[in-house]
Symmetry: C2
Subunit: 325 residues, 2 copies
């Protein structure tokens, strides 16, 4: 089996590839080749005996998508994309990468006669826009309030039409906020949700810019990889025509996040969180969805963590080798 991962140099892309290498296969079939593509060169996955093609470049460039699928890979995980903040600042780049890049890939597949791969697309809860009901149901409309969310919502619609037409077997998964995101603190408005767990666990101070009462839905990087793998197992028959699915997550308040950290790592670690209210971040976060009632995903067998304690433990195991600073 030949697996393509776009956005392979990104955090989820690397974790997905590593997990596929560890599993040795997908849907019961051994993987003998990876094609890993991104704007920067992805690393060769450690411990993989098969062939690996590393491809860099712009998917929307003429011929790029055709080349990527020339060997007719069996499964494509399409994770590539410009992130929310960048797509908002650079209108052209966001549409070029997130819409034109996705469409180029879908078009290349459509034009490859007799070819219909499994295509797993990562969408985002950015497809939703406030005001929201108490919990967002599966049939809630998509009224994104960012260009990024718009590009994701459009890609979902394209994917569903290409799936309906039989050009591919598609599934789109709307990831909740990924927490705990590893790596350095960044300037994303959502960064603190991870920062207040990751930084104290690493012995550093973290800033909390919003109130304890802020509620949000989270899934660990490990759960996100699990969603991608589970999506690849679903059949057309199981999915029906509505192939774009909100993913489950752990819905909790910031106070509950801090309670988990305290329970698992102790009050001296939780004391590294400094409250420093930031009006701008508070305003941005107030427009985000709080609760997502991901009923269809749950029925289809997608599984997130059961509580925030599990998310903190997954981070300690996967990123800190089980150790707390």
């Amino acid at each position: 089996m030949h697996v393509v991962v776009t956005g392979a140099a990104g955090m989820i892309g690397r974790k997905l590839t590593a997990r596929l290498v560890k599993d040795g296969g997908l849907n019961g079939k051994p993987i003998d080749k990876f094609t890993l593509t991104d704007v920067v060169a992805a690393e060769k996955p450690a411990g993989f005996g098969g062939k690996v093609d590393i491809v860099t470049g712009d998917m929307a460039a003429p011929g790029a998508a055709e080349k990527l699928i020339a060997e007719r890979p069996d499964v494509i995980f399409h994770l590539a994309g410009v992130v929310s903040g960048e797509a908002e600042i650079d209108f052209d780049k966001g549409y070029h990468v997130n819409l034109d890049g996705t469409r180029a890939l879908l078009e290349a597949i459509r034009h490859a006669e007799g070819y219909h791969p499994k295509f797993i697309f990562t969408s985002s809860i950015a497809v939703y826009g406030a005001p929201f009901p108490h919990a967002i149901p599966d049939d809630f409309h998509l009224t994104p309030l960012t260009s990024y969310g718009t590009q994701k919502a459009i890609s979902e619609l394209l994917l569903a039409d290409y799936n309906r037409r039989g050009f591919l077997d598609g599934v789109g998964i709307r990831l909740p906020t990924i927490c705990v995101r590893p790596g350095k603190p960044n300037k994303a408005a959502s960064g603190f949700f991870s920062g207040i767990i990751r930084e104290p666990l690493a012995g550093h101070e973290a800033i909390l810019p919003v109130a304890d009462t802020v509620r949000h839905t989270h899934a660990s990087p490990r759960a996100a990889v699990g969603f991608l793998l589970h999506a690849a197992t679903l059949t057309r028959e199981q999915l029906g025509p509505r192939i774009n699915l909100a993913m489950p997550g752990v819905c909790c308040t910031v106070a509950e996040q801090i309670d988990s950290l305290t329970r698992i790592a102790g009050p001296q670690v939780a004391a590294r969180i400094k409250r420093q209210p930031d009006e701008l971040i508070m305003r941005i976060v107030s427009g985000w969805s709080e609760r997502i009632d991901a009923r269809r995903a749950a029925e289809l067998g997608f599984k997130a963590e059961k509580n925030f304690d599990e998310i903190v433990k997954a981070h300690i195991e996967d990123e800190l080798g089980g150790k707390i600073a």
Copy 2:
């Protein structure tokens, strides 16, 4: 005021232009110029003393959209599009005209510095896909089951993002089935909804391929033109960020349509309807929305007919000069 109508040679485009000529202006400002564009040449509107540019061609062709807005028209009614059946048969043409054409027009506007016209886009209830709740609420998700519906839903998302960014003042209106559609019978699966009224009134036989109990939502061509004009009066403040709106209509069964025809034109006219069940049409129609709860549109002042009698009377007045054959 300079008004552009795309799709100006089509039925709604012609009626909209005629109405604007009759009104003499829009939003209290006189119209001194029309640009009427379509793939075939639109007719010059009768009785208009101002300037009229007739433009033919493909909006998605390089430079075409830029040229169309070069004089910075104040209001653009974007009605152009390949119809549902054609977009389903010709995948490339549908995406080219309905998506790329619309995007080219939006892009031309974005690149015209300091320009932000009023932009009214005709979407369709084809953005919805079965299964449906009892009535479709304003916050119901868009899961189109045709490429046409997909292209309309994508155009709505683009319009909302371009509106949010301040490139234009946009509003998208989802038209219900237009009934009574004038002209010759056509092969559209929905054709009978109009046919069973139009043909008997003109002295001809009409085929009814579905059961009397089939329920659907209709608005007259006159009401559709009214929606377009009313949309042009709405401000950003009135609309908020959710600028794509389901339009109201008359929800009734085929039996109620026939009752109206009988009341208005007599049983001898209604007797011209021949029942000839067609399994294929019955199956297609069973996947269509029945009831649309267009609450926001009603609150914003959009008005359809109150009952099907008014739709039949509008047809007799507007198309038959008040006479029944």
